[in-house]
Amino acid sequence: MAETRTMTINMGPQHPATHGVLRMVVELDGENVVNAQPHIGYLHRGIEKLFESMTYRQALPLTDRLDYTSGVSNNLAYCLAVEKLLNIEIPKRAQYLRVLLSELQRIAAHLLWLGTHALDLGAMTVLFYTFRERETVLEILELATGARITPSFIRIGGLAADIPDTFLPRVMAFVQEFPKRIDEYETLLTKNPIWKRRTTGIARMSAEDCINYGVTGPVLRASGVNYDVRKAYPYTSYEDFDFEIPLGKNGDVYDRYLVRLMEMRQSTRIVKQAAEKLPPGPVSATDAPQVVPPDKNDVTSDIASLIRHFKIMEEGFEPPPGEVYSSIESSKGELGFYIVSDGSNKPYRVRVRPPSFINLGALPKMIEGALVADVVAAIGSIDIVLGEIDR
């Protein structure tokens, strides 16, 4: 009998379906995966180390370079951690706007995921439909924050500025329109027999496995585990909003798809509520003059404000020594920041808990014995962003 030999192929770092620069060394027996090993680090920029040489304020733009598909969520996670360290209170209006923006960002991130995931499985048209809506969301974000991808709009102590008057009408128009668009995607995919056969029962993870691997986010919820930081440990007034956590049953690629679609519908609900209930008031903490810069108009007319502005920009602020961990539910899962302060104006150490990195750890488990085509489906279903994995 002839000897069976396996073939090792290198998927990535340049491969259309590895979503950036993930490299998979896949050992194949025919088309069956015998062994798969993800290799990471091609996008390493030393962001965690860079934090240590910047003041807390300066370091903010680094965060939206982590998961560049959901910049607002990253800003929020970092700001919440620093605010926890400083122990300052954020006004309600700022909190609601944070919720609104980060839910819009979640929709944008999920749309990006849906389009690319469908493209990975060969359905090219969905990409253009989702990007049409993603563009609308990004334009709304740009209207408020001035940037599409890397807003850095959520600042320590509140927001950089209040929203313009034209913002809320556009948000409401989008909220009205968007559920119909989701129905449109669903007509293309949800009941499509080819789509179902490609995704049902593929890359299955049991609830127990998910917990053992530390998987979070839609991948975990698709396996039926009801864990969402927004509900479990509400932050930024999420307890004020009425929304549900969509759960899957089988933990396969199809359920992850359904969970994310339902999450987009829930996010739309949250955005609508936040826009309707948005209270008046300031958008930055009023009791933290050492953290929040003074009003721009005062800086040119009032010497005390000028000095305060200069001090905050040049030296930053000095939080009390201590350690703090704070996490949010980003579009990929639980995104946490662990900050150690030594009492100086720069963090002693910042550690990011990136959901993609930990979810990627479960990939070899998911694709044991699968086919090459399933590897692509599995990578897509985890929704990884290499900027966050490699940092």
């Binding site: 073939m7 493209l119 060969g122 359905a123 048209t125 490609r198 085509a373």
Partner: protein, 328 residues
């Protein structure tokens, strides 16, 4: 003098058919991109010429001037030969397809078909399969693992649908009583075969999608899995030959569906070749539409579809057709 006229007639027909076909194939790429563009809320190519009309020419020039790379470890003769095989096979398939009624010119009856051979349908099967060899050899000879996987998929896919493909058409052959395509068309003067053989029509449509390697059956290529599969190492005109062959194959298969099920050139009022082009275009549009709508199937699913559904269904179709024809 008779043989000379025959040669001249044939040469003229070949020149006309090949230029029209190649021109159509070139512009089919533009039509496909435009049509997909409108499906996908974008406009498609519109930079080169008005409405992108010079795009195919620009693509052609680009293919010619690109560097032609042959990998060091490739099996060079096979590597060079593979696109030629695929291209030649795809181009010569069209030879037996009748694209219009016969007419009389200078006292000679001229049939609008290049080669009206007795075994037309067999010839088409043979050429279609030969074209697949080019894909298999091309992927294998490039000495690239993705190419090899693409080739293996092409080979596996070819075997799974080819058997069914032949069996599906036996029903048509039984009714027409001939393998000659002109006679099959003539047999549809009363009624198109799509009415007699609706099931076979649908089956053939699916199998034809698999034969021309298009979504949802574009296994050998599957760019998001195998990063283009069999043609991964090909560049320049060799790559273009594969592309042209793919579109030629698409046109030929659409023309074949027209001929076998939709009455070929038959139709009222308008001349035959216009009816033929219209019907073929409709089929091509449906192919493009499917590409814009469906995801890619997994290759073991295609195998299951081929052996567990298409094959038995085709057999059943043959049996039922034979039974009815025998009773009549």
């Amino acid at each position: 003098m008779e043989p000379y006229y025959y040669v001249i007639e044939s040469i003229i027909k070949i020149i006309v058919v090949v230029s029209v076909l190649m021109g159509f194939v070139a512009y089919l790429t533009l039509i496909e991109r435009k049509f997909l563009g409108y499906l996908q809320v974008r406009v498609g190519p519109n930079r080169v010429g008005w409405w992108g009309l010079l795009q195919p020419i620009a693509d052609g020039i680009k293919s010619f001037v690109k560097e032609d790379i042959i990998p060091d470890n490739a099996d060079k003769p096979v590597y060079v030969l593979a696109p030629m095989i695929t291209f030649t096979a795809a181009l010569s398939m069209f030879a037996v397809i009748p694209f219009g009624d016969s007419f009389t010119l200078f006292g000679r009856e001229i049939k609008l078909v290049l080669a009206d051979v007795d075994i037309g349908l067999l010839y088409i099967f043979a050429m279609g399969t030969l074209g697949e060899y080019g894909i298999v050899l091309g992927g294998w000879s490039a000495n690239n693992k993705y190419g090899l996987l693409g080739s293996l998929r092409a080979a596996a896919q070819m075997i799974s649908y080819e058997v069914a493909l032949g069996l599906i058409l036996i029903g048509t052959i039984i009714i027409a009583g001939s393998l000659r395509l002109t006679e099959i068309v003539e047999a549809q003067r009363g009624m198109w075969f799509v009415v007699y053989q609706p099931f076979a029509f649908l089956l053939y449509f699916v199998a034809a999608l698999a034969e021309i390697n298009r979504i949802p059956f574009d296994m050998p290529e599957s760019e998001s899995e195998l990063a283009c599969g069999f043609n991964i190492e090909y560049s320049s005109m060799k790559f273009a030959l594969f592309m042209i062959a793919e579109y030629l194959h698409l046109v030929t298969v659409a023309a074949l569906i027209t001929t076998l099920f939709l009455g070929g050139w038959l139709g009222p009022v308008l001349p035959g070749w216009i009816w033929f082009s219209l019907k073929t275009s409709v089929i091509i549009f449906i192919f493009i539409w499917i590409r814009g709508t469906y995801p890619r199937m997994r290759y073991d699913h295609i195998m299951k579809l081929g052996w567990k559904f298409l094959f038995p269904a085709a057999l059943a179709n043959v049996v039922v057709t034979a039974f009815i024809v025998a009773l009549r």
